[in-house]
């Protein structure tokens, strides 16, 4: 009763001001940017805009650079996130005690503290022909010249990008799974399943993994979006063709050739549509879990 009487309209001026700040600084720029990108790609905005046209979009079917870039970005993000989740699941289950109370409980956080710029620079120094790995290979007698080292930087399959992204994502997911393991009371559930006669593999397959993956799914999707739109790491470690989508967008946007700009905005519109669909998926899953 009290709650109904007092809280039905209890947002005051300060809350409204906070919300308006959020609208002005976050929502409006994003909304405006999406509209501007769509308008530019349709010839309705920009220096070269001469009225509505689909000619820029029709180029998607002629020149496959953007399509290839999207496929490359999705592939790299899928592989990086899937491998990270798999490795992190193994680590979080195998190293539960060291993660809770050992030194690993501190050091595991270090890779998460690496920003994209440092990560890119670091992996360039580690994976390039004269980098740390090549020096170790030379010390082991495997190679004698930097050119003999397999190309992991700017390689066509994005191996350098995947390794760099995994370096941050594996510790992140390991910590997340370790935390979810306790939050979801998995030790008790394991004990219950054991008492009902389930074997170790069955418990893992039917109880532990489904629960952890279900609870972590929204975070996994957001992590996928993060890799999909990454810029610094692909810029330094990625191939020159096809480029990851952020790199391609920036290249087309920053070119002096104004004719390339509509294509930059086509990339932006397509990326935003895909990312929004994924965010909606993550959001609905998170709400479903909250309601359950």
């Amino acid at each position: 009763m009290i709650s109904g009487r007092m809280s039905s309209n209890d947002n005051g001026g300060i809350e409204r001001a906070g919300f308006l700040l959020f609208v002005a600084v976050a929502l409006l720029p994003i909304g405006a940017s999406i509209l501007y990108a769509a308008a530019y790609s349709l010839g309705l905005a920009g220096l070269l805009g001469e009225g509505f046209t689909l000619s820029h979009w029709s180029r998607l079917g002629e020149d496959f650079e953007i399509v290839r870039s999207f496929l490359m970005s999705i592939g790299v993000a899928l592989v990086a996130v899937a491998l990270s989740v798999a490795v992190a699941l193994g680590l979080s289950l195998a190293l539960r005690r060291p993660l809770r109370s050992g030194r690993l409980g501190y050091t595991i956080y270090l890779p998460i503290a690496l920003p994209g710029t440092v990560l890119a620079f670091l992996f360039f120094q580690i994976l390039s022909g004269a980098g740390l790995l090549a020096r170790v290979a030379a010390a082991l007698g495997l190679i004698s010249d930097p050119s003999q080292f397999p190309g992991l930087v700017n390689d066509p399959y994005g191996v350098g990008i995947i390794l760099a992204e995994m370096f941050v994502a594996v510790p992140f997911f390991t910590i997340l799974f370790a935390q979810l393991y306790d939050a979801e009371r998995l030790p008790e559930l394991r004990g219950l399943a054991e008492s009902l006669g389930a074997g170790g593999v069955d418990i893992l397959r039917r109880v532990v993994l489904p629960l952890l993956l279900r609870r972590a799914f929204p975070t996994i999707v957001l992590s996928f979006i993060g890799v999909l739109g990454a810029y610094e790491v692909p810029l330094l470690l990625g191939p020159s063709a096809p480029q990851m989508i952020s790199v391609l967008t920036m290249r087309k946007y920053a070119r002096f050739d104004l004719a390339q700009k509509p294509e930059a905005f086509i990339c932006a519109v397509l990326y935003t549509a895909l990312a929004l669909a994924l965010v909606a998926l993550a959001y609905s899953c998170a709400r479903r879990d909250d309601d359950a």
Binding site: S7, L27, A120, Y231
Partner: protein, 260 residues
């Protein structure tokens, strides 16, 4: 019994290997920042060169960038934390909280570089491109969205009852915040401040575009030096860039572990 001991040993060895791999970046950056001549295939540099470190301590551009990045990210984090706190209360108490909360997730969908390319014209039009204020506003697009989502779960039914009780006992709105809500959210406010600080601290693409290369934060320096093949300076800038997050993460591991 034997098997348990072997498994324990294996876990210990794995833990040591994983821990070493996690430490590698900081050690390697430290070595790179002081490395003199380092020919292939030597595993260690031939000598030590402290030029980059002495330039940093002497107040070179690296020192200024450090100061600029700290002030910029600190301001963004402060606004995002308290702005996110009260905006999320507005959303939670409004009749359309689900729809509005979904909108708060929008920044998570955007790649900073792609958003930067799209809003660049807006910042040019309003005269904020190329300025630190403009860069801070652009960072806030992401940081404020994070703050709103971060505090969404704080405004639970129990919290509402607590607020109602305080109001019933005569607390004014400022008293409600000062004596009830802010103390209850102290840990979360601290974590949100750190996370939004890092969101801004790590930002490269958006800073490059909106700052037009004139707002030289540390991430820009790392790329600039890396582009010039100035490994020593790039490594030192990188070290400066990761020291605050490392300290924050270590100091607050307990809280982060709980709220991740």
């Amino acid at each position: 019994m034997m098997r348990k001991r072997e498994i324990g040993k294996l876990a210990g060895a794995m833990s040591w290997i994983v821990g070493t791999i996690c430490l590698l970046p900081i050690v390697y950056l430290l070595i790179l920042s002081v490395a003199g001549r380092w020919r292939f295939p030597l595993l260690l540099p031939e000598g030590i060169n402290l030029r980059a470190w002495s330039d940093l301590l002497g107040g070179d551009s690296l020192g200024w960038s450090l100061l600029l990045s700290t002030l910029l990210s600190g301001s963004v984090a402060l606004v995002a934390t308290f702005g996110g706190f009260i905006a999320s209360r507005y959303i939670a108490r409004s009749g359309r909280s689900r729809g509005l909360l979904f909108l708060a997730y929008l920044p998570f969908a955007m790649s900073p570089v792609i958003l930067g390319a799209c809003i660049h014209i807006l910042y040019i039009t309003i005269g904020l491109a190329g300025s630190a204020v403009g860069v801070a506003c652009a960072h806030l697009t992401f940081a404020l969205g994070f703050g709103v989502v971060f505090f969404a779960r704080f405004w639970s039914r129990e919290r509402r009852s607590l607020e109602d009780l305080a109001r019933l006992l005569g607390a004014s709105r400022p008293q409600l915040y000062r004596m009830v809500l802010l103390p209850a959210a102290r840990e979360l406010l601290l974590i949100c401040f750190m996370q939004t600080f890092l969101l801004s601290w790590f930002q490269y693409g958006l800073t490059l575009l909106i700052g037009a290369g004139r707002v030289k934060t540390l991430p820009l320096l790392v790329f600039m030096y890396a582009g010039e093949a100035n490994v020593q300076y790039a490594a030192l800038s990188g070290l400066m860039l990761i020291i605050p997050p490392v300290l924050m993460l270590w100091a607050n591991r307990r809280f982060l572990y709980r709220y991740m």
